[in-house]
């Protein structure tokens, strides 16, 4: 569904999402991990309409045959390889080099995690990796714990976007970091893509309503009973949230405010006596 086809009389003018000069109309990025089977994955990619999907790099399991994941990803989709498994900048850079060497392009999502309990990204190492890889002409999309100073450093380092986490990765808890993501949206002049913790379409819509440029989800879709259905729901929620944002949303109020006029009620009698 294209926004311009929502109604026949309403034309919605939205700019495309532009990352490193490349233009995208769909603001939903889909991760490809944890799917029960490749059929679910292929159907979910299609239902999501995602133009960017993430993949990871891992050791080949020499004991058993694994399907090639690229067979399930349409050719026109931009491949964004993450550096998951990297515990520091050096390891992230090494993964990026392997990816480029193998001919998988130069789009890299920096994901540096060295805490196995909270799985929070290491912002300092992420800045270092972004600096190195941007200089080597990679398109770098760093995944961070939302922090204004870190985001500013990433801008200086040449990042293509900033990807703050909504809440703990894989937690489905939504926008726990909302206030801090809002700061990034307001202050950072790069696309802000909310990543991690987005479990329900309503949470994705909320991220878009506050002005995020895009949302990335993976676990939620992959672990849903019907993944493709949720992928579609996310795509629609992200579009709805975006339209809400573009509409210049009304202000929240603490008290009631009637939506119908307070005058001219039926059956209301004026008891004052009119004297002639």
């Amino acid at each position: 569904m294209n926004p311009s086809t929502l109604t026949t009389s309403l034309t919605i003018q939205d700019e495309p999402l532009i990352i490193a000069g490349k233009s995208f109309t769909n603001r939903f990025l889909l991760g490809t991990g944890k799917f029960k089977n490749k059929k679910d994955l292929a159907e979910s990619i299609e239902a999501s309409g995602a133009e960017i999907v993430t993949v990871a790099l891992r050791r080949i399991d020499l004991e058993r045959h694994e399907d090639n994941i690229l067979e399930y990803i349409p050719k026109n989709v931009t491949l964004l390889v993450n550096t998951s498994g990297a515990r520091n900048a050096k390891e992230a850079v090494r993964i990026a080099h392997l990816v480029r060497e193998a001919g998988y392009g130069n789009w890299i999502k920096i994901e540096v995690i060295n805490d196995s309990k909270y799985l929070l990204p290491d912002n300092a190492e992420t800045i270092k990796a972004t600096e190195i890889l941007s200089k080597e002409n990679f398109v770098v999309l760093p995944y961070i714990y939302p922090d204004l100073y870190v985001a500013r450093e990433l801008v200086k380092a040449g990042a293509a976007t900033v990807m703050p986490l909504g809440s703990f990765i894989g937690s489905n808890q939504g926008l726990k970091a909302k206030e801090f993501i809002q700061v990034l949206i307001d202050e950072i002049d790069l696309p802000i893509i909310v990543d991690a913790g987005i479990g329900f379409p309503s949470q994705a819509a909320e991220a878009m309503e506050i002005g995020a440029d895009a949302v990335l989800a993976n676990t939620a879709v992959a672990t849903a009973g019907r993944p493709a259905l949720l992928a579609k729901a996310f795509a629609m929620a992200i579009q709805a949230g975006r339209l809400g944002y573009l509409s210049k949303l009304p202000v929240k109020k603490d008290l009631a405010s009637p939506s119908s006029p307070l005058t001219g009620f039926l059956y209301e009698n004026d008891n004052t006596i009119e004297r002639r």
Binding site: G31, T32, G33, K34, F35, L41, T54, V55, A56, L57, R58, R59, I60, L62, H65, E66, N68, I69, L70, V81, N82, S84, R94, H97, L98, V99, E101, A102, Y104, I169, A196, L216, N218, T219, A222
Partner: protein, 66 residues
């Protein structure tokens, strides 16, 4: 001779090429990315890359990820 392949010790004949190892251990070599002792070895160099005792080889490919 012994090498370390994807973290596991393997016994292979002397003077083996990287290409032979990849063909022996990977069913589909098309998407394999190879690293020997921390250095990437480009596909067109697999044949001339001779493996030495104690070498560490990493064979990786793309998988699902978020």
């Amino acid at each position: 001779m012994q090498i370390l392949l994807n973290g596991k010790k393997k016994e292979i004949p002397n003077n083996t090429q990287l290409k032979e190892i990849i063909e022996q251990f990977c069913r589909n070599t098309k998407r394999v990315i190879a690293e020997v002792n921390g250095d990437i070895v480009k596909r067109h160099l697999w044949e001339e890359c001779l493996i030495h005792p104690g070498d560490t080889i990493e064979l990786v490919n793309l998988v699902g990820g978020g």
